[in-house]
Amino acid sequence: MKVAVCVKQIPDPADPGELNLETKTLKRDVKLILDESDSYGVEMALQLVGDEGEVVLVSMVPNNERNGLNNALAMGADSAVLVSDEALAGSDALGTAKVLAAAIKRVAPDLVLTATESSDGYTGTVPEQIAELLELPSVTFAKEVNISDGNVSVRRQTEDGYDEVSCPLPALVSVTAGVVEPRYPSFKGIMAAKSKPVEELTISDLGIESSHVGWVGSGQEIVSIEPAPKREAGEVIEDEGDAHERILSFLEELKVI
């Protein structure tokens, strides 16, 4: 069994960065890390394949950055396909999906795993776009994933509970955060990652024209960036054992209690 996991390398969300006012997109010239959302897909893939399978990472960047990819390889993924091309800068979700779908096609996996959305762009449409481009069935927002007899069965998050959904492989599944505990790379894993194969491709290797990706390929433009109306801070007090009384009186003023 071969599982492809889409992983994104993003600026550290703890340091939210800023917008490049010229290009109107997030500045990504900082050190990139593995999107934490993707670590759940990597962990789930490793658990699903066990000892007799293969986990291949698929990722794209404009500048051959590998830091986040190395982290996922150190967790235990076997290899990676990295599409690295200057023309990818500024790609929207659909352009991103086209590139990832083309790369996944070369890997020919039984299962494709993704996060539900990235922690920087948050569009949340890429998984379904990839599935449609590859003409695959898909189950999004998985809380639990099991494989047996060429089928994947999934507990899919719904507004008020979950659905049990199954479909034959090959298929794409997007995984919600927190459903497995991503392992920390061991020292051995970190050392081993250095010699794992990373196939680096350009978009022309994938037969994609530069007019379909990047700034030019995105069918949308940012017309303005402006500060949002601010919310003012109110009263702040130190708890000296009686703060709960202030909360109570505040709730009473609001007629909540």
Partner: protein, 317 residues
């Protein structure tokens, strides 16, 4: 004005709140047509009409199939003759699936996470970024129909008192492989209080609780106040509570009358989901926590002391 398609999400004939919000906005922008998958279009037609839809295009029952590929295929089959100017989806599990599939079928981009729509040389979406401190306005550049994914609670739903919408069926073409996923069972996870995104009081917990076992403090307080319990992404990622509890950019947007954030520092990801609350109360050990910059009442203190004391006092009242 052109036609605006609004994705109508229903359950047993009941139209979801996000759909009513989208219909209310869409009627400012053009003629509104609801697009729908499921067996309950006729039952929902009265409510859809009341909120502004003149017609409903429905696939009918999907026989256990998932909505994404089915509705996207059916819509791409009629988009030529119907020629909508824009298509609005709610940012929901189903809405995101259909929007993603449809964007590939039409080779059209999607503008996501928007909280407002304005007509400025074409429909333009307003998306808050960096924890809601900055608004970005985006519009489509091509000739293709615009697909927008709108966050819940962006508009206030108001009935226009219109007549029942006329239902017509649209065919789902043979989906081939893409339609192979089937739903076998549906489970409703019972919770006794109000739903997180509809509650007038929300109590959320974060990493400051220290350990999963302490989350009951949040649930107890929510229950005592008749509200719903929520969570920051940090403790959802840590597996303390399910994804459905998450308030934030990923997760649910809430706008309750009172939001109580306990042990939540206020990452931008979280603030986007709750800064529209009418009143915010924050309890956090760190006086520098960003959450205090938007709180109406901030308590610099230990949640393990303040919450039990508050619960005890509430118990007596």
């Amino acid at each position: 004005m052109g036609t605006i398609w609004v994705h109508a999400e229903t359950k047993n004939g009941e139209v979801s709140t996000i759909t009513l919000e989208l219909l209310t906005k869409a009627r400012e922008l053009g003629e509104v047509v609801a697009v729908h998958a499921g067996s309950d279009a006729e039952a929902a037609a009265l409510q859809l009409g009341a909120y502004g839809a003149s017609r409903v295009l429905s696939t009918g029952d999907l026989d256990g199939g998932l909505i994404g590929p089915a509705l996207a295929s059916a819509l791409s089959g009629v988009i030529g003759e119907e020629a909508p100017q824009a298509i609005l989806f709610g940012t929901t599990y189903g809405g995101r699936d259909v929007a993603g599939r449809l964007s590939v079928k039409l080779d059209a981009p999607v503008i996501t996470n928007i909280v407002d729509l304005v007509d400025e040389d074409g429909l333009t979406g307003v998306e808050p970024v960096f924890g809601g401190t900055t608004n970005v306005r985006t519009r489509f550049t091509g000739e293709k129909v615009g697909i927008f994914l709108v966050r819940p609670k962006s508009f206030v739903a108001e009935s226009a008192g219109g007549d029942s919408a006329a239902v017509s069926m649209i065919a789902v073409p043979d989906l081939g492989n893409t339609g192979a996923a089937k739903v076998h069972n549906q489970f409703v996870e019972e919770s006794d209080g109000p739903k997180l995104d509809e509650a007038s009081i929300v109590v959320s917990g974060g990493r400051g609780l220290g350990e999963a076992e302490k989350y009951h403090l949040i649930e107890d307080l929510a229950k005592r106040l008749g509200g719903a319990a929520g969570a920051s992404r940090a403790i959802v990622d840590a597996g303390w509570v399910p994804y459905s509890y998450q308030v934030g950019q990923t997760g649910k947007v809430v706008k309750p009358d009172v939001y109580i954030a306990a042990g939540i520092s206020g990452a931008t990801q979280h603030m986007v989901g709750m800064k529209g609350s009418k009143t915010i109360i924050a309890i956090n050990k760190d006086s520098e926590a960003p959450i205090f910059s938007i709180a109406d009442l901030g308590i610099v203190g230990d949640v393990h002391k303040v919450l039990p004391a508050l619960l005890e006092a509430l118990g007596e009242s």
